[in-house]
Symmetry: C2
Amino acid sequence: MAKNKTAITPTREQDYPEWYQQVVKAADLAENSPVRGCMVIKPWGYGIWENMQRDLDKMFKDTGHENAYFPLFIPKSFLEKEAEHVEGFAKECAVVTHHRLEPGPDGGLVPAGKLEEPLIVRPTSEMIIGSMFAKWVQSYRDLPLKINQWANVVRWELRTRLFLRTAEFLWQEGHTAHATKEEALEETRLMLDVYADFAENFMAMPVIKGEKTEGERFPGAEMTLSIEAMMQDRKALQAGTSHFLGQNFAKAQEISFQDSEGGESHAWTTSWGVSTRLVGALIMTHSDDDGLVLPPKLAPKHVVIIPVLKGDDTEQKVLDYCESLRSEIRELQYAGRPIECWIDKRDVRGKKWDHVKKGVPIRLEVGPRDIENDGVFMARRDQPKASGVSRSELLETLPDVLQQMQDGLFERALQMQKDNTKEFDNLDDFKKYFEGDKPSGFALCHFTDVPEMEEILKPLKVTPRCIPLADNDTPGKCIFTGADTNKRAIFAKAY
Amino acid sequence: MAKNKTAITPTREQDYPEWYQQVVKAADLAENSPVRGCMVIKPWGYGIWENMQRDLDKMFKDTGHENAYFPLFIPKSFLEKEAEHVEGFAKECAVVTHHRLEPGPDGGLVPAGKLEEPLIVRPTSEMIIGSMFAKWVQSYRDLPLKINQWANVVRWELRTRLFLRTAEFLWQEGHTAHATKEEALEETRLMLDVYADFAENFMAMPVIKGEKTEGERFPGAEMTLSIEAMMQDRKALQAGTSHFLGQNFAKAQEISFQDSEGGESHAWTTSWGVSTRLVGALIMTHSDDDGLVLPPKLAPKHVVIIPVLKGDDTEQKVLDYCESLRSEIRELQYAGRPIECWIDKRDVRGKKWDHVKKGVPIRLEVGPRDIENDGVFMARRDQPKASGVSRSELLETLPDVLQQMQDGLFERALQMQKDNTKEFDNLDDFKKYFEGDKPSGFALCHFTDVPEMEEILKPLKVTPRCIPLADNDTPGKCIFTGADTNKRAIFAKAY
Ligand SMILES: [Zn+2]
Ligand SMILES: [Zn+2]
């Protein structure tokens, strides 16, 4: 590719949303399916999700959670039980009304066997899991109950974008029940910490941990915590949420227990989740105008070896060299697992750019000349220049190089977040910051959670993202009303 | 528990189907949900499935397959494309007809937003995956395409049994496309071998690899291979299938490619799957009248340590001893992973029997007296007697003991299968073997695949399970018609 020419058209600057779609396509991560709003996650994209699952799952288990599986369907009557929850989730969902197809008059198939009660394809599982918790919890000895589920969910969406917003998506949902309010609050915070740890140390994506304002809470929750990340177009993306549900769901579903003194209490519940949306966040945080850039910890494969075949008698020698190099690389460990390495022997043009666009962290090229020097030609996805390196040095430094890349991606993203977070005490400046369609960033402002705020924010297409946990007691005046307040929130345009 | 009394009532001999339900319940594996036909898989049951997934997934990847994810929904028109497939799958399925719930006249919610085309919740994904393959395959260079999906599927079932037959179940479905018939046939056989390897070496469940007769084939397949296992009631259970689909699906979906000479051909496809049904098979193969028995390779946890607490000043010493023992055990490896061990400190009665019923392979009890001797009291789930063992011996032999248990379970099951497989050349003996409801077994007989066979088998409730691959050329006479034939099949009552 010639200088100044990029592998992805348009560039981020030219058209960010379209750039995103083109990166997803060029890296062969996913595509739209014939089913409206549902995506197909292709092997390279699914490989990223599998790595996310593996690392998150370990963190959930290390914090005392167990996996289980609950039904895909929820009886309609269950959704009618918790008023706010219905309001939030019952609107756009897939409704199963029949359980059979029969031959129709014109040779096709028609729905038959009407169900007595329609079933909803789960948009989230609070209600169905809660109904089981009600059976399982009798005594304080049965608590806490700490369950996680990996599953698919469906929310009928009109405007979809691969990974970011799809009708069906994959996620995990944690559901826990506790004997006391304090314990449930602790769990809610603990799981937010787990998400933040994962985002920063695995995704190399800096996040702000905070509490949602009332208008942005999960339907039925008393408190919603979230992690918010800044994408390269400076918009916010909510990357994970952890909800303290109080006793609301426990009361709607009769999750109650006999405490140690023999009294009867309702349990305190939480729920928390992250989804394949994280893959979208990962893409938008690190990728560049040549395609996907992956933090090594989540790359499905770390290293590709490209044999440079000249069509002469050196070919077998080059291939043998590649094979032995691969064996040695696979014996190395990075971040607790073997370094994944494969040899791309395909006889196709533009191979090198395939790997650039897919974000393979390290590309090694091996030709007859390199072998003579017992070395390889090495390119890092995060650096523009490639260079020769001896085999011994490569093997010695590879795990460190991967960690350098991981750290470098995080630092770069953190710098970007810092550079684009501004404090405002003046409403006019705040409005100017967000006006129009140009990239803005995060605004940190004192505020009070009042209706006026919504009215000012709406035309700006800005929402309060969260009240940062790390910043909860700085006196000042609400930017919207001038009232005294100790609370500040992050405001931004968001995905 | 007193002698001659069992932890599970009824026993296998008294009422096998009810024994099965009671084992599932006592081991806390799964239970029915409020949604008709859908089960809840509880942590101990899901832990077994997770282990199955981990080992199978590795085998799929080692044989060159990649994971991906396809939509939950299938447009109705897709199911109408392959005639035999429709016939087989379109009958009992969950049909989504609406995409919204709206407040109804009586305060409840009613389905709204009728879909132009109904969507079917996937009963299997040949049609939706095939439609993507049609896009992805253009040239012979795009082949083979070897994809696997881990997913939930739904088949509306009237009579359900936990794990064995449920409306929703979890499974994996492999889908591959090849340039030649030979390659597709090879894949079909390879994946059957993978399943047999998994069944025998991980589940400790001996299986017979064979080909299905025409009447038992997958709808739309040209050849279905299966592995068949014998349960302890001597019924057969089909534990995995691998289908050679010929060009049937490729033609219905236009999966075609340009070959190396520039000509246009249809691809040859295969599909293969195993499901949470395997958990049912595992239970029925090994468990006894005291509950679940697990092959150590698939046990969610291998060892439980029970501190014997006397309520005096020895308690802390006992707990410390247990902690240090656990640390040492977790450093040991069995079958390529750390030995999973936990300490059950609960203050409840009947703890020991909990672990027996759940099939924990090794139970260790540690009291003050044991510590003095630097030993533990050890019980193996596969042996009636427990005995003292020194700490050093325990740590030295634990991985071997687990492997002995694994091997022992396989040997016992294999003996049972051999003892209950009989050859028949006489139809009267064959009929007598299967008459009534008493346990029968497998019958190996010469046969020809003719309509008369079905008529004779139906009243006996017997089906041809498979034509064993290992036995495909022994001359003889068809037991049903007397015609000369070289083929033999296994006949049995089946799940
Ligand atoms: Zn301020
Ligand atoms: Zn014979």
